[in-house]
C-alpha cells in the first residue's frame, strides 16, 4: 500500500516537474505574443484591433506555420532541419514549371509538392537516423542541393496563370460572426485564405499526434534521452527517421501553401524561411536540446514573429534589413533564455 502511494506520489511529482518545464516556456510565449499585440494596438493605432488584421497575419504565414510545425517535430527528437526553406523554393519552382510549361493541373502539382517533400524527408531521415550523421550537416547539404536544383530547373521567375490553380488560390473562406463594421455600418466578415485552413488542420493533426499517440510520446522520449528511450524498447532510429519524414512532408505542404499564396516560382522565394521556422519553434518553447516542445507554442511563436515583423514595417523601418535583424535578435534572446533555464535546471539537479 505504502509502496503504491509512494509510486503515485512520485508520478505526481514527476508530472508536475515536466509540466512546469514545458509550460513555463509556453506561458512565456503566449505572454510575449499578447504583450506584443497590445503594444501594436497601443502604438500603431486601430489597424491591429480589426480581426482582419489578425487573419492577414495568418494568411501571409500559413506556409511558415506548417514549416515550423515540421521543424518542431524534428527539434523535439533532438535534431534540426535547415533545408525546409530551400525545399519550399524548389517546390514552388517545380509546381510552377509543371503548371505553366508541362501542362499539368492542380492535382499533379500537389502530388509533385508532396513527392519532393517526402523524398527530402526520407533521404535526410535515412542519413541522420540510420547512418548517424549530424543532422545539421546533412540538412545543410540538402539545403544547398535544393538551392542548386531550383536554378537547374529554371533560373527565372515564372508566374502561374493556369485557371484551375488560380481559382483555388483565390478561394477565400468567409468567417461567421468574426469581422468588422465599415463606415456605413455594414458588417464585413473577415476572410481567410484556403491555405490557412490547411495549415490549421496540420497544426491540429500534429497536436493530436504529439499528445495522444504512441509515436508522439516516442518523439519526446527519444529527444529527452536517447539511451534510456532505447532501453525502454523504443526504436530510436525509426522514430528519428519518421520525424524527418514528417518534417519533409510538412516542407512539401508548406511549400505548396507558399506557392498558393505567391502564385509564382522564383529562385528567390522563401529565402531565410528555415531561419524563421527555427526561430518560431524556439520562440514557441521548443528546446534545442530536444525533448521539450509544443505545437501550440509553435503556433504562438509564428504569430509573435509575424506580429513583430508587422510592427517593424509599420514603424517605418521598412528598409529590407530591419526584419532580418529583428528576427535574429529575437532568436538570440530566446536562445539565451533557454540556456539560462537549462543551466538552472542542471543546478537544481545537483
Amino acid at each position: 500500500m505504502s509502496v503504491n502511494s509512494n509510486a503515485l506520489g512520485e508520478k505526481k511529482l514527476k508530472g508536475r516537474a515536466s509540466l512546469t518545464d514545458t509550460n513555463l516556456l509556453l506561458i512565456i510565449t503566449i505572454a510575449v505574443f499578447i504583450v506584443m499585440y497590445l503594444c501594436a494596438i497601443i502604438f500603431l493605432g486601430k489597424g491591429f484591433t480589426k480581426p482582419q488584421m489578425f487573419f492577414n497575419i495568418l494568411n501571409e504565414n500559413a506556409s511558415l506555420l506548417v514549416l515550423s510545425c515540421g521543424m518542431t517535430l524534428v527539434m523535439i527528437t533532438g535534431g534540426i532541419d535547415i533545408s525546409v526553406g530551400q525545399v519550399t523554393c524548389l517546390v514552388c519552382m517545380a509546381c510552377a514549371v509543371n503548371l505553366e510549361m508541362k501542362g499539368g493541373n492542380v492535382l499533379t502539382s500537389m502530388l509533385i509538392a508532396l513527392g519532393i517533400g517526402l523524398a527530402f524527408g526520407i533521404v535526410q531521415g535515412f542519413l541522420v537516423a540510420y547512418l548517424e550523421f549530424q543532422p545539421f550537416i546533412v540538412t545543410l547539404a540538402g539545403m544547398f542541393f535544393a538551392k542548386g536544383l531550383t536554378t537547374i530547373i529554371c533560373s527565372d521567375r515564372i508566374s502561374v496563370t493556369e485557371p484551375g490553380f488560380e481559382a483555388l488560390s483565390k478561394t477565400e473562406v468567409s468567417l461567421p460572426f468574426i469581422g468588422s463594421y465599415n463606415k456605413a455600418g455594414e458588417f464585413i466578415p473577415a476572410f481567410a485564405e484556403i491555405g490557412v485552413i490547411v495549415a490549421l488542420l496540420v497544426v491540429a493533426l500534429l497536436f493530436c499526434l504529439l499528445r495522444w499517440t504512441k509515436l508522439g510520446r516516442n518523439f519526446y522520449a527519444v529527444g529527452g534521452n536517447n539511451q534510456s528511450a532505447n532501453m525502454l524498447g523504443i526504436n530510436v532510429k525509426l522514430t528519428k527517421f519518421l520525424a524527418h519524414v514528417l518534417c519533409g512532408l510538412c516542407a512539401g505542404i508548406g511549400g505548396y501553401l507558399f506557392f498558393l499564396h505567391a502564385r509564382s516560382g522564383s529562385p528567390l522565394h522563401a529565402t531565410g524561411a528555415e531561419m524563421n521556422a527555427i526561430a518560431s519553434s524556439i520562440i514557441g518553447g521548443t528546446m534545442l536540446s530536444g525533448g521539450v516542445g509544443n505545437i501550440v507554442g509553435t503556433l504562438f511563436g509564428v504569430l509573435s514573429l509575424s506580429t513583430i515583423k508587422n510592427i517593424v514595417t509599420s514603424l517605418g523601418l521598412d528598409d529590407p534589413w530591419w526584419t532580418n535583424i529583428t528576427v535574429a535578435a529575437m532568436l538570440c534572446i530566446f536562445l539565451l533564455v533557454q540556456s539560462v533555464i537549462l543551466a538552472r535546471k542542471n543546478n537544481n539537479k545537483k
Partner: protein, 371 residues
Amino acid sequence: MTTSENELSSGNSAKGFFSKLVSNQLFIPLAALLLLVIFNLIADPTFFKISLEPSSTGYFILSGNLISIIDNASELAILAIGMTLVTSASGGQDISVGSAIAIAGSVVLRVVKGYSDGISGGEFAGIMIGAFLLCVAVSALFGAFNGALVAYFKIQPMVATLILFTAGRSIAAWINNNENISINDMRFGYFGNFLPAIPIPTPVFISALCMIIIAVVLKVTNLRLYSQAVGINASSSRLNGINPKTIKLLTFIILGVCVAVCGFIKVSRTSSITYAVIANNIEMDAILAVALGGNNLGGGKFNMTASILGAYVIQFLTTTLYKFKVSSSAISAYKAVVVILLIIMSAPIVRKWITDQKNKRAAARLRKEAA
C-alpha cells in the same frame, strides 16, 4: 588462435605501405586532386596552360586556369584555417562566415570611402591600414559573439551562428545604408588583384602569409594540443587545468580574424560590394574543405595541412565545373552531392562495415589456407 592472429597481422604488414598511405589524412584530398587533374587532362589538355600576358595596366601578369584556381582559393584556404580550429574545439561549424565576410567588406569600404577623397599617396596607405585594423576588430567582435554563445551559453555552434547567418548581410547593408559603394582609387585593388610589376596575384601572398603565421602559432604555442583536448573531452580537459570556454572563445575569435582578411581581399578584388552575393555559399565550401581534409566534424584531432589542401581541391572542382558551363548558382547542387558522398564515406558506421567485411574476408581466406 594465436597463430591465425599472427598471420593476420603479418598479412597486414606485407601490405603495410599501401594501408599506411590510405590511412594517411592527406590521402583523401590528394586522391581527389589527382582525380580532378586526370579528368581535366583527358577532357581538355589546354586546361593547365599558363601564359605571361600584358594586363590592362601594362604590366606582365601570369594567367591561366591554374593561376586562377590558386588565386581564387586564397579566401577559402584562409577560412579553412579558422574553421578547422573551431571544428576541432567546439565540435561544430560556423555557418555565418559568408555573412561575416559581407560585414567585414562593408566596414572596409565605408572607412576607405569616407576618408579617401583627395588624399595623397602616403595617407592612403594609412587609411588602408586603419580600415584593415577596424575590420579585424569588428570581425573579431562578431567572432567573440558567436564564441560566447557557444562557450558560455552552451548553444550548439551551428544554431548559435545561425543568428549571424541571417542578420549578417542585413547588418552589412545597414552599415553602408544599402548604397552600392565603389572605390575608384587603383591602389585599393592591389590586395585582391596584382601589385604593380609582380606577375603573381596578391591574395596568393596573403594566404601564404596566413599559413606561415598559423604554422608558427601551432608550432610555438599549445593551441593545437588544447583545442584538440577540449574537442575530445571538454570536462576532462577542464580537470587537467585547461579552460574549455576560453579555448572555444579563442578559436572563434581566430576565425573572426580569418574572416576579416577574407573580407578585405574580397572587396579589394572588385573595389565594390554586393551585399546579397558577396562570399555567397562560402560557408558550405569552408565546411567542405574541413571535411575533405579528413577531419572529424564532431571535433577533436585535426590536420591543418589537409584542410588547406581541401580548400584548393574545392576551388579546383569549382573551376572545373565552371569550365563545363555549369551556372554559378547550380554549382551548389553538385557540391552538396560531394558533401553527402564524403560524409557517407567518413561515417563511423560505414567504416566499421568496411573493416568488418575486410576482416571477414581475411578470416575466410585463412580458413581456406588452413584447410
